[in-house]
């Protein structure tokens, strides 16, 4: 539908209406951010918003050794998973972007089908496998599982990143004596850094957000990730909201901001793989 002109009144109404809808839509999250500044001693029943404000909760959260350990574990698992996904995804994405070969379309539709396999079934087999080989309650199966579920998206997205690079650039490098692989590493990768970084960041976010495998493969509390630590905290009888809410904000807000910066680099890959994150 084309609306080319609106009267001043309708235009003002559109601005006000849309802004209101947006604020109402994200209001639960805004409420949570505000609640993170509520003093620990102030009961929630006193009002929807804090009566007085403090950043003390954040200091307490950052001094909690268990939470810090969980943050570090999440960082470790997500950083390695994303790195591994990139190491496997770069050559594969490049292969799909540059070559026509037998089985190419089959493999590409296979990549689209992989995410429809229920994660809970993958959790069962990887759990049994991990127990058998003695890797249960370590971060290894977690890293492998994260790499696995995010690899299809990584390949799809990197394929679009590489397909946007002009072939002539590599061809001239190959004329000068580079192999295909050297041309990829020396010529293509340096000019696709934004796309690579965005893909890495997105897989990092998805691995950080992962909960099912983290709760299945880890039992020791020092090895828990931040998602599982928070999920078990909310299930307790006496929830320490003054620590849980700031921890939740700290675990998600930096990644939301990161996501806003990278989204334009990943939207094409998302449309093709239809990953939901």
């Amino acid at each position: 539908m084309l609306i080319t002109k609106l009267s001043v009144w309708k235009k003002a109404l559109s601005y006000i209406g849309l802004t209101l809808v947006a604020i109402i839509y994200i209001s639960p999250f805004l409420w949570m951010i505000m609640s993170s500044f509520r003093p620990a001693s102030e009961p929630f029943a006193l009002g929807i918003f804090p009566q007085s404000w403090t950043i003390q909760n954040y200091f307490r959260t950052l001094q909690d050794p268990e939470l810090l350990m969980s943050f570090f574990n999440s960082f470790k698992v997500a950083a390695i998973s994303a790195g591994l996904a990139l190491v496997l995804g770069i050559p594969a994405g490049y292969g799909f972007a540059r070559f026509g070969f037998k089985g190419r379309s089959f493999l590409m539709s296979f990549l689209m089908v992989v995410p429809t396999f229920p994660g809970i079934l993958l959790a069962i087999t990887l759990f049994v496998m991990a127990v058998r080989v003695g890797l249960y309650d370590t971060h290894y199966p977690l890293i492998l599982a994260n790499t696995l579920i995010n690899l299809p998206f990584t390949i799809w997205n990197l394929r679009t990143v590489f397909a946007a690079v002009s072939r002539e650039i590599e061809e001239s490098a190959m004329v000068e004596g580079c192999s295909r692989f050297q041309a990829l590493v020396k010529v293509v990768l340096p000019i696709t850094v934004p796309g690579l970084a965005a893909t890495y960041a997105f897989v990092y976010i998805l691995s950080w957000n992962e909960y099912l495998f983290a709760t299945t493969f880890i039992s020791t509390s020092e090895k828990r990730l931040i998602t599982t630590t928070m999920a078990s905290a909310i299930g307790q009888f006496n929830v320490d909201y003054a620590k849980l809410i700031p921890a939740a904000i700290l675990s998600t807000l930096p990644l939301i901001i990161l996501f806003m910066f990278i989204q334009r680099y990943i939207i094409k890959g998302l449309a093709m793989g239809s990953t939901k994150g």
Binding site: I3, F117, P118, I124, T215
Partner: protein, 291 residues
Amino acid sequence: MPKIRIHTAYWFVLPAMLFFILLAIYPSGYVLFLSLFATGKGTAFSADFSNFSNFIAVWNHHNFSKILVQTLIYAGGATLLHAFLGFTFALLLNILPLNKTYIRTMRTVFLIPWAITPTVVAILFRLVLHPQVGPIAIFLKSIGSPVVFAPLGQTDSALLFVTLTNVWMFTPFYMLMILSALQAIDLGLYEAAVVDGANGYQQIFFITIPSIRNLLLTLMMFDFVSTAAYFDLTWIMTQGGPVLSSEIIPTWVYRTAFQSFEFGKASAIGMILFTISVIVSIIVLRVINRE
């Protein structure tokens, strides 16, 4: 020369494919094996063919149809609402002739719920819907309402509110996808329709919707399949309760596998879910390819 090119391509794709074979193809075969052969509890099961006893046990389970129906309500309801709301938001942001920077800002704001860690979304709505600390309950109390607001603790509303939380969280994804598809529609089509005298609604029904039909169907297919298998939100919000009123197949599989340690039976339940997913995908892909 062409022969060498074929070889190069395979070398590039091979590492990722080996990884898939090792960690995706093998496990999916293994789940099938478990569902058919493993009986009893624990990871040291006897590997004798069990005559489909796991599938029969699941099929005859007194809660099977209840949980299946709840899964279909959850996944189907969430998918339809995602599509409807996502389309509405995208359309509004696309057709209103407002300031470009403003539209971009609104698009970013609407994306926030999807960018929040799902565990945090689950915790957030447990708090928002909480009967003591939640803002809605506090508001109701402050105006003297006698209503007891505990939607996640009541059997008739838990599934509904988990579904709505899912809708809140994933609608932005639809908005993002549909908006970028709407922006790609050739404006000349609308101009031609205006010349032919089409009104706004006719333009939406005869140009906008057909243009994004395949994207929308693909999105909804993946959405239905992945929501039916989506564990995190339901588990953290209600653990399938109270009294299994929000139990869906993935939480049932989890309970069976990791609380009762009946891996064969859990695999059988999961295989039923996977079969439904495959059937839905095939039907939708047929519809798309019929064009």
